[in-house]
Amino acid sequence: MVVVLVEHSQGVFKKKSLEAVQYAAHVAQQMGTGVTAVAVGKVGDEAMQALGQYGAQKVLHTTDARLDDFNSRAYTKVVTAAAQKESAKVIVGLHDTTGRAVLPRVAARMQAGMVAGAVSYPDLSNGFVIKKNVFSGKAFAFVNISSDVKVIGLMPNSFPVVTGEGSATVEKLEVALTDADFSVQVKEVNKATGEIPLSEAELVVSGGRGMKGPENWYVLEALAKELGAATACSRPVADSHWRPHNEHVGQTGGTIRPNLYIAVGISGAIQHLAGVNGSKTIVVINKDPEAPFFKAADYGVLGEAMDIIPKLTEAVKKFKASQN
C-alpha cells in the first residue's frame, strides 16, 4: 500500500493535498497496489469520500479534540499507525511546513529513507529513484532510497491536479495518544484570511528595491488582485519593513514554484533566484537592460515600474473581460 497524509483547512482539503493523493495513486499504480489517505481532525465524510476522485480507495480518519491543533509528535504517531495498519511500503506527504515536521519524524521512527522535495515519480527500473531540487534550484539530484519503507515529501505544484471519478471508503483509525504527544501548546494563530498563501499560489507578483518604497506597493497589489495572484518580495524589501517577512522569497526566505512569477524592480541576484527559479514562467520588469534577472526570464519588459504596472493591470482587466 501507499499511504498519503492529507491536510485540510477547516474541513476543506487543500489543493496541494489533492495533488499529493493523485501523486500517491500514480506511485501505487507503478507498484501494483492501492492508496490509503490519512486524514486528521475535524473533517466531514463527504470531503473524505471525494478523495476517491484523486485516486484514494480508502481514507483512515483519526479524530481527537486534541488533534485540532497541529502537533508533530501526535501526527507522527497517526501516520505511523496508518502505515503499519496498511503495511505501507511508501508514505507520501507534502514538502511544506506540516510535512517537513511530520515526514522526517515518521522516516526516523520507521527507519525509512526519505526524499524531501520530490519533483518526479519514482523510477523503479533500477531501485527507487526520485528527482529533487538541490543547490537551491541550481541543479537536480536523482536520489535512490534503499530502505524497505520509503518516505516521499512532494514539492507542491509539481503536477497539475485532475479531478476524476471515484469515491473512497472512510474508516476510523484509533491511535493511542498520550498527553506527552500534546505537550506543545498553541497560544496564538495568525493567518492572513482571504488571501492566497504564497506557498500555494499559482500566480505571484513580486517587488524589489526598484519599487522605491512601501507607498508604491498599491500598484503591485492592484495587479495581483486582478490576476488572483499572491504577492512576494526580495529580501531587502522585507529587511526594510516595506513588506512582511513571510513575503520574502529566495535562498533565505521562501521557495516557491508558481506557474507565473512577475518580478518588478528586482535585480535577480543569485540568492533571490534560488527561491523562484522553479517557476514555470518568469516575467521581469526592470529599467536596467543589464539586470541579471533578464537572463532567467521568459518575458522581459524594459522601463519604469510605476508606468508599466498600471498598464499591465489594465491589459489583464481587458483580457479577463474578453474571456467572459
Partner: protein, 247 residues
Amino acid sequence: MKILVCISQVPDTTSKIAFSDNNTIFSSQGVTYIINPYDEWYSLVKALELKESGAATAVHLITVGKAEAEPVMRKALALGGDEAIRIDADSSDTYLVAAQIADYAKTQGYDLVLCGKESIDYNNGSVGAMIAELLDMNFLGFAGKVDVAGNSVTVVREIDGGEETNVCSLPVVISCQKGVAEPRIPNMRGIMAARTKPLKVVPAAAISALSNIVSYEMPPTKQGVKMISADNMEELVQLLHSEAKVI
C-alpha cells in the same frame, strides 16, 4: 541549560555548481565552503545570546562530516561556543546525519537542540525533526522567534499562510530561520580564542545510510528572454495566455 547547535557546511551561495564523472559527483573544485547560513546567522547567534544572558551554561557545536568540515567548525567557534564536535561520518543521507547526532546527544543531556531551517545545498530541511523523533523530543520547525524563560520555551513559527505561537517545556528541537537573531561577524578576539577551543572528533556510530544520490542534472537552460515593449502590455497578456498558458 545546555545547548547543542547543529552545523552543516555548504558551498558558498555564489559557487558555480558543476558535476564530474558523468554527472555523478559534485565537483568541489574552486568551491568555497561556508557555515550553512541558517545555522550561522540564526541558530548559532541565538545560542550565543542565550549564553550571554545567563540562560545557557554551555553551547556546543556539532557537525557530521569528514575532516574537510573542520575549517568551517573553526569559523563557527570564532563566532562563539564552548566546544565543537565533529562526528567522523559521511553526511550524504539525512537519516544517517540525524541518527549520528542523536546517538551522540542522547547521553549529553542537552536541553535545547538548534538547527537551521534547511541546508542550502541539498535543501532537505529534515535533520531537525528526525533528531527530535530519535530523542523523543518536541520539534518546532520554521521558528522566527525563540524565547526561553526558565524551563519554558516560546516560539513564533511559520505555518501555511501565517504564523503560530507555541509554548512548550525543555527539552526541544527547534529549526531556525530569519527573525530568530541578527547575523554577527566574528571579531579578532573570537578568531584568536577559537584556535584553542576544543574540536572533538567522535567516531561514527554503526548506522547505515538509507538513501544515496545516483546522479545530478542541470536544469534546462532558458530559451532566452522575449522582450516586449512597455507600451504593449496587451501583447504580454496574450503571450501569457496563448504561449505560456499560465493565465
